[in-house]
């Protein structure tokens, strides 16, 4: 009887040992696999098409208004070209995803020109007020309108402190295949999500001859935008609203 007991105890001990060993090697293999994955993602910058946008990324602009030349509207033209934003000769209602704003200091008379688009807030008021959930923020910080859900109520346009959104009043034709637009929906700067997903920079940043618009991942400490934000002064427009903007300006 005691012999039998000893035998079973021995067996159990051996089993435990084996399990430990197996578990350890499995963990090691897992770590190796994970390590290689991390290694590969750090080298391959392009997001694979099938991969969803990551919340570890925060896309944004750093705009140096000192570099903005007078009478230059190349960023605006580039945006209009990219999405075929043709006007109908009605400036009050024509779609405007990016526009140039001139600020004038009344005391000194000093003027500053800057491009203004959707600021891609971390806490977007347009998303807060949207009754249907059409206005939303992507995991990587891009604020968009899902036009499949949008009912065109325009609450978001009223909520936006930057007047960044437009309503489509007319029947639209000749849309780009990556930029669907339609009557009765609200639209705004998409931070060129279709380009960003394909590892390219937005059209306005690409078109700027002075390289005043810098695009990048604000969360990546190694990126140019994060390094410049750390070393140089930059501000948010209406920073008092504490919306944590994705677009920061220099020289204002």
């Amino acid at each position: 009887m005691s012999n039998e007991q000893d035998n079973t105890q021995n067996k159990q001990r051996i089993d435990r040992y084996r399990r430990k060993l197996l578990g350890g090697s499995a963990a090691l293999a897992g770590a190796a696999a994970l390590g290689s994955g991390v290694f590969f993602t750090s080298i391959a910058r392009a997001k694979p098409d099938a991969e969803p946008a990551s919340s570890e990324v925060r896309w944004g602009f750093l705009i140096d208004t000192n570099k903005c030349a007078d009478n230059c509207d190349k960023c605006v033209t580039a945006c209009n070209d990219e999405f075929n934003l043709t006007g109908f000769g009605r400036p009050e209602t024509d779609a405007q995803w990016i526009r140039t704003v001139t600020l004038r200091d009344k005391k000194t008379g000093h003027t500053t020109r800057l491009p203004l688009m959707c600021q891609h807030c971390a806490y977007p008021p347009c998303v807060d007020v949207c009754p249907t959930g059409a206005s939303f923020k992507r995991p990587d910080g891009i604020v968009l309108v899902d036009k499949h859900i949008c009912i065109g109520c325009r609450y978001c346009m009223m909520a936006c402190p930057y007047k960044a959104r437009s309503f489509v009043h007319e029947t639209i034709e000749n849309q780009k295949e990556y930029g669907p637009r339609g009557k009765g929906t609200v639209e705004s700067c998409t931070l060129c999500a279709h380009r960003v997903d394909k590892d390219r920079i937005p059209a306005c940043a690409e078109a700027c001859p002075e390289k005043a618009i810098l695009f990048g991942n604000m969360n990546d400490a190694g990126s140019e935008i994060a390094q410049r934000m750390a070393s140089e002064a930059s501000t948010e427009i209406r920073g008092d609203l504490r919306l944590n903007l994705g677009v920061r300006y220099q020289g204002i």
């Binding site: 946008a53 992507r138 000749n174 997903d197 390219r200």
Partner: protein
């Protein structure tokens, strides 16, 4: 012997009696159930059913004859690649809308830009060229999507916002 015969006779009589009673019961039940269902006499009902069946058959025959005479059945444009569709044809006929709306949500909300089940892939592969060798838009009844949707009288709203022809400006400019 005679006693045995009489016993047999009695048993036979009993079985016949039982079967008659059973038959009566079932008949009663069936008539009851029929009258429960409808208060009209059975014959009229039967006549109506027969008439409707005959009329139906006649209507079907009429439609099949006219179809043969030239109702425009959809002439589905072949894929330019000339291969199998992204899924099996029967599956696509039944489920293409589900694939499209799934893909749509993935693309808009998550930035997943796989081409396989995209709307763009439909009209890029099944492109129909018209005059000047240019692809026709959805305004043309020969457009791939319209061929079936016109036939089935199902309205598609996709192209109120989306373009219906392949192409578009290809821009360059890699991220630094």
């Amino acid at each position: 012997m005679s006693r045995h015969r009489s016993a047999c006779f009695l048993a036979a009589c009993n079985t016949i009696k039982r079967s008659v009673i059973n038959a009566k019961d079932t008949e009663m039940q069936s008539t009851q159930s029929l009258y429960c269902f409808s208060l009209r006499p059975l014959r009229l009902r039967e006549l109506c059913v027969r008439c409707s069946v005959i009329t139906g058959a006649l209507v079907l025959m009429f439609f099949s004859f006219t179809a043969a005479a030239g109702v425009p059945v959809p002439d589905i444009p072949d894929a330019i690649k000339g291969e199998q569709c992204v899924e099996e044809t029967g599956f696509m006929r039944r489920n293409h809308m589900k694939l499209l709306s799934h893909q749509r949500d993935d693309t808009v909300h998550l930035g997943i830009r796989t081409q396989k089940h995209s709307l763009k892939n439909c009209f890029t592969c099944h492109v129909v060229t018209g005059a000047n060798n240019q692809p026709v838009t959805v305004k043309d009844p020969r457009h791939f999507c319209r061929e079936c949707h016109d036939y089935a009288a199902v309205q598609i709203d996709c192209f109120q916002c989306h373009t219906s022809v392949p192409g578009g400006r290809k821009t360059t400019g890699a991220r630094p």
